[in-house]
Amino acid sequence: MPSLKDLRNRIASVKATRKITKAMQMVAAAKLRRAQEAATAARPYAERMDKVLGNLNARANREGASALLVGNGKDQVHLLVVMTAERGLCGGFNTNIAKLARADAQRLVASGKTVKIMTVGRKGADNLRRDLGKNIVERVDLRGVRQVGFANADEIGQKLIAMFEAGEFDVATLYFAEFKSVIAQKPTALQLIPAKLPEAAAGDGKKAEAGAVYEYEPEEDKILGYLLKRNITTQLFRGLLENAASEQGARMSAMDSATRNAGEMINKLTIKYNRQRQANITKELIEIISGAEAL
């Protein structure tokens, strides 16, 4: 049976924890709003990009097309770009992304492919290091970055393209958590290279028509080559932003339930404390009364 002092200490410590989780929840809520705004602001660019790429894709000559679009004909070396947070305490956020990437990595290894991993964010590297440590070829650290910008995505994009051109991998896939809502973040895999483009021509008469009238300056293949590189960066940027929003959302709900659990624990401990105190008083009273009766 813990003494009264022990109980008092525990109550105080749980209360302090609750204050911290409460504060973290509120910080996450504020950051979430900013992250969501950033994600919304980035959407028009990505949409236009998709549209133009779709149009180009429908018209461009596939034979001479860039390897970024049609692949380099091989399917041997896979690069998994795993985006996670820099910090923990956000529920299953980091674990879920890592789990998805790990499952895919194991499936690829089992079918005889070579797997390389590039981690963006410290938590992913920590999580995958134990069993896939030797596969991690590159780590990008965004710890010092407060608000992810296009420049961060560009840096990763340049690295990816350089690696692809040096023939270090054949297929690249991006792993990140898509932001569905504050309580739901869906770990997602997105193939970056060869690019998966929206098929504008397939069965969509209106889009194909709109695409048919454009003139291209310089010629289509050149624009397509340029845009494909841009597109990788745009996709990475989107991944970063979605991840940032998801991370804050996950942290918010994790901290919300932590705060609630702390509250419940405090209630339980307080009842226990009061009972104990009352028991002590009763015991003392009995001692006094029986002492008085004995006289």
């Binding site: 602001a41 028009p44 236009r48 990009m49 296009f150 291209y216 300056e217 310089p218 940027f237």
Partner: protein, 132 residues
């Protein structure tokens, strides 16, 4: 004049300009182009340079560092990788951009990259002169 068209300048991080414009000058990769309403549909890449757009009588100048534009009869959409309004550009920022552009010029691998970087340097030098 054929009236106005919808002009949008979008960078990955935000929409910089959105409005009805009478005229826009874009630094196309194959030459400067002036656009009025009713332009033939074109998709073009941009080289570093100034975009000048006339919206509601006022003219706005924006420096863009590469990107591309989608033009048709009633709308122009510019997707710029990096864009600064002329007012946002101060000497420090110009100097910084100039440094990156010069570095790019130094290690440009092919003619095209060299051309892009050279035109960035040239544009920024001109700007730097103004800002300083």
């Amino acid at each position: 004049m054929a009236g106005t068209f919808k002009f949008e300048l979008v960078s990955p991080e935000r929409i910089l300009i959105s409005g009805d414009a009478e005229q826009a000058v874009l630094p196309g990769s194959e030459g400067q182009m002036t656009i009025f309403a009713g332009h033939a549909p074109v998709v073009t890449t941009l080289r570093p340079g100034m975009i000048e757009v006339a919206i509601g009588g006022a003219s706005k100048k924006i420096f863009v560092k590469s990107g591309f534009a989608e033009i048709d009869a009633e709308r122009v959409t510019v997707l710029a990788e990096k864009a600064y309004e002329a007012g946002e550009l101060d000497a420090a920022r110009v100097a910084e951009e100039l440094r990156t552009a010069e570095a790019e010029l130094a290690d440009a691998k092919d003619d095209e990259a060299m051309l892009m970087a050279a035109s960035a340097v040239e544009q920024l030098r001109a700007l730097g002169g103004k800002a300083a």
